[in-house]
Each structure stands twice: as structure tokens, then as C-alpha cells.
């Protein structure tokens, strides 16, 4: 049986690592961007970004001040048992790390705007569950969700028969609309299909895929390259001061949809593309995965 205290501990550890260290693939992509960039201002800014990532890792200081709304993707082994409520255990983990780190309390009521001061609330932390057949462990990915990229992300519900060029225009338009609140170079997650409630999640998951992994369908991988190429032609650059590199990657996820529907979602993600996965076992082990 997996103790719920272990889950709370795993949540806190994963979250702390997520806000203080960037995944290797993202770090490498930023370094490559710095090499390739020809705009002196953007190149200068990216130098500071790299130094910042190094300082954060060394000192266990948040990379970005927006330590995010806690969002978790949880995979439950179908043979795993837990001595309590997993949702409560995750919530406890968030309350614990908010106090001990400390994190900035960011969860507010949508209408009254009252802050709960502990980063939890109605449906917060955000939790998405799926299953791993036959496994006796739990995998949890912490993805701190920051405000600015959420604000500039968008969903469009096109009717079927809408040409793909319209969807492309929408994707480029969404990136074009970002202001200095967002921090390029971006990771752009695109969702095609599903329905209204799921297309945003497809885009979110796309933005979580490692930047050096292309979609397995070669046609879709080709579309990812095409979208990236055009987005970089926008010339927004780091700090919105111009440059060759506006995005590090475009990742697409797809889902089948209802025949008259063509949902499209764009998840904007800043360079501070944070994700950490841990695997929690019955014997109390917590493995750090990529």
C-alpha cells in the first residue's frame, strides 16, 4: 500500500524541483536559441536567461517569480493501492510546500478574487487522472501553470469543412497577440480535435512534450515544423524586442472529434517550461523521472 504521506512528500518534492530547475531539453533549446539568434538585444536577454537558470538551480531559488497554480497529471497504476484519499494527499503536499518553501499564494476565487493564501481552493490544485495497466506505482507530473501564457492561450471551435489554413491563421494570430507580459522564446502547444472540454487539454499536453521529440505521425511532425517556421517569421523575439527566435518548438497533439466539429486550441508557454515527473512506490521510494 502507498502511504498518502508519501504522495504528499512526492508532490512537494516534484513541485520544488519544477520551480527551481528546468528540464534538460528546454535548457538545451534555450542555449541553441542563444547561439542562433542574430538580434543583439534578444541574444543579450537570452544570456541573462541562461545565467538565471543556473543561479536558480544552484541556490534552489524559483527560476520565475510566478510559481504558478499547481497542476498535476497523475497516472495511477491499476494495481496500486493507497491508504487514504489521493486528492487530499496532493492537496496536503501543495499546502505543505506553499508554507515551507514558501510559494507565493496565487489561488483566488474567480469572482470575489479572495486569496485562499495556501494555493488550493475549488478544483485547485488542478488534477488530471489516467491509468497505467498492471502497474503498482503512481506517476505524478507537476506542471506549475503561470498566469501570462494562460491569459494569451486560446480555443476556437470551427465547423467541419473549415480549411486548415484558417486554423493556421488562428494559431499565428494567437502568437501574434502576445504582449510583453509573456516571455518568449515560447513553446507552443497545439491541440486539434477532441471536443470543447478536451481540446485545451490536448494543447496543454502538447506543450509538456519534450522539445526534442516530434509527433510520431510524420505528417503531423511536418506540420509542427511548418508552424514553427512561420511563428519565428513573426520576429517577436525575447522580451518582445525583436528577433529570429520567437518559439523554441511547436508540439501538436490530436484527438478524433465529432464529424461536424473542428476544434483547435493553442497553449502558449513561456521559455520557463517547467515539468517534473516522479514515480512513487509502495516501499516508500520516490524515483525522479525525466
Amino acid at each position: 500500500m502507498i502511504p498518502s504521506t508519501l504522495i504528499s512528500k512526492g508532490v512537494a518534492e516534484a513541485y520544488k524541483r519544477a520551480i527551481t530547475t528546468l528540464p534538460e531539453d528546454v535548457y538545451d533549446a534555450i542555449k541553441t536559441a542563444r547561439e542562433k539568434e542574430t538580434n543583439p538585444l534578444t541574444k543579450w536577454g537570452l544570456e541573462i536567461v541562461i545565467k538565471n537558470i543556473d543561479v536558480a538551480k544552484e541556490g534552489a531559488i524559483p527560476i520565475c517569480q510566478d510559481t504558478g497554480i499547481p497542476e498535476f497529471f497523475v497516472k495511477l497504476g491499476t494495481k496500486a493501492t493507497i491508504d487514504g484519499s489521493i486528492e487530499e494527499a496532493i492537496k496536503e503536499g501543495v499546502i505543505g510546500i506553499t508554507k515551507s518553501f514558501p510559494l507565493i499564494p496565487l489561488a483566488v476565487h474567480p469572482l470575489t478574487r479572495a486569496n485562499t493564501l495556501n494555493n488550493t481552493g475549488y478544483r485547485v490544485p488542478l488534477m488530471h487522472y489516467s491509468l497505467i495497466p498492471q502497474a503498482d506505482y503512481i506517476e505524478l507530473t507537476a506542471v506549475p501553470a503561470c498566469a501570462a501564457p494562460q491569459t494569451f492561450s486560446a480555443v476556437k471551435m470551427y465547423p467541419s469543412g473549415t480549411p486548415i489554413t484558417e486554423a493556421k491563421k488562428f494559431i499565428y494570430g494567437t502568437v501574434h497577440n502576445i504582449t510583453g507580459a509573456v516571455c518568449p522564446p515560447l513553446v507552443v502547444g497545439v491541440g486539434f480535435g477532441g471536443l470543447f472540454g478536451t481540446v485545451g487539454l490536448l494543447a496543454r499536453e502538447a506543450s509538456m512534450r519534450p522539445l526534442d521529440v516530434r509527433h510520431p505521425d510524420p505528417e503531423i511532425a511536418k506540420l509542427e515544423d511548418e508552424l514553427l517556421d512561420s511563428i519565428n517569421k513573426l520576429g517577436i523575439g525575447h522580451m518582445n524586442l525583436g528577433g529570429d527566435i520567437t518559439a523554441l518548438a511547436v508540439n501538436i497533439e490530436i484527438g478524433h472529434t465529432h464529424s461536424p466539429c473542428f476544434p483547435v486550441a493553442v497553449q502558449i508557454q513561456c521559455w520557463c517550461c517547467r515539468r517534473v515527473t516522479v514515480r512513487m512506490h509502495e516501499d516508500g521510494r520516490v524515483d525522479q523521472l525525466r
Partner: protein
């Protein structure tokens, strides 16, 4: 890359401000006020309208649009970490605030509107952009908290930091009416038009 590099002590003089041009980099030491929520601006402006005295000195001040983790431990305030806050959120309140309190410098991220630029030119004020998202790096340049005013406002309290060469900050909007954002904006408009046309 950038034209010139400066080191200044806050509060900045009008000479300091006027010597800066868009593209220069600056390091700032001395006091800066964290004022970054709309209610803070509304309430501080209301105090002035009512003719009441402010408990803090904002004349010639440096305003810091920052998102911070601060806490009071055994009666003493300490800063854990902080980074730049999106200034555009305050576009509406800032012109009036610059005029009312004679603000000399705004530190933030992403720049502000043409209305703010106009008020900055009239009032001799400069906008200094930090490198977005870099909390860890810039936290090293904050000595600590000098004072906390209006604690009764809760999360809208006004924190006064002591900066130690906070930088590099980029002058993206200067007191002469120049902004680095305008040209990028124009290019961006042209690029999106071209990309969309190319799709037809």
C-alpha cells in the same frame, strides 16, 4: 549592442533621467517601492484626492512592478525572492500616478502604453525593463526590505526594497518619448499580414 551603461542611485534626479536613451542599460541602487496592483494605485491616488498625507514619500520615487515572496518573521520583514511583474496591467492608472506623485523611474516587464509614454515625457520619467522571468538572477540584487507601509491593506501593502545594483535593466521607454517596442510592433504587423497572405 546597447549604447551606454549607467549606474544610478534612487531617487533618480531629472538629470539622471534625461541622460538615458532607449537602448541604454542601467543598474539601480537605493529604495524602490513595490506598487503593482490596481487597488494600490486607486487607493494611493484617492488619498491624494482627499488631500490627506501619505505615510510614504513618493516624490521622485522609483516604482517597482514586481511579484514577490516576502514574509514577516519575529516582527522583521524579509524577502525570499522576487521578479518582474507585467506592467501593462497598470496602463490605465500609471499616467495619473506619474503626474500626481512625480515618479522618476518605473522598473517592470514588457513596457507600457503610449499614454504612459506621453505622461513619462511630460513628467521626466523613465521605464526600465528587466529580463523577463528571471527571478533568481535579480533576487541577488535586492539587499532587503527597508520598510513596509500601509500594512493594514493586507496583500496591497507597500513594500520598500533596498536595491543593490539591480540590473541589467534596459531602457525600453525613455523620457524623450522614444520606445523600443514601436518598431517591433510595426514589423510584427507586417509579418503577420505576409504570413496570412502566403497561406491563400
Amino acid at each position: 549592442m546597447t549604447t551606454k551603461e549607467f549606474k544610478f542611485r534612487s531617487p533618480l534626479s531629472t538629470n539622471n533621467v534625461m541622460s538615458l536613451n532607449a537602448g541604454d542599460t542601467v543598474y539601480i541602487s537605493g529604495p524602490a517601492y513595490e506598487i503593482k496592483t490596481v487597488p494600490q494605485y486607486v487607493k494611493l491616488l484617492d488619498i491624494h484626492k482627499r488631500g490627506e498625507r501619505l505615510p510614504l514619500e513618493l516624490t521622485n520615487a522609483t516604482i517597482y512592478h514586481t511579484f514577490s515572496s516576502v514574509e514577516k518573521m519575529e516582527g522583521k520583514w524579509k524577502v525570499n525572492y522576487l521578479g518582474f511583474f507585467s506592467s501593462f496591467v497598470l496602463n490605465k492608472q500609471m499616467p495619473d500616478f506619474i503626474r500626481t506623485y512625480t515618479i522618476r523611474a518605473i522598473i517592470g516587464k514588457g513596457g507600457m502604453s503610449s499614454e504612459v509614454l506621453k505622461a513619462m515625457k511630460e513628467g521626466k520619467c523613465v521605464y526600465l525593463a528587466g529580463v523577463s522571468g528571471c527571478a533568481a538572477y535579480y533576487t541577488q540584487c535586492v539587499e532587503g526590505i527597508r520598510a513596509v507601509y500601509l500594512e493594514e491593506w493586507g496583500l496591497d501593502r507597500v513594500v520598500m526594497y533596498e536595491l543593490r545594483d539591480l540590473g541589467p535593466l534596459l531602457v525600453t521607454m525613455d523620457a524623450h518619448g522614444n520606445t523600443l517596442y514601436e518598431e517591433v510592433e510595426k514589423k510584427k504587423e507586417a509579418a503577420i499580414k505576409e504570413i496570412k497572405t502566403g497561406l491563400l
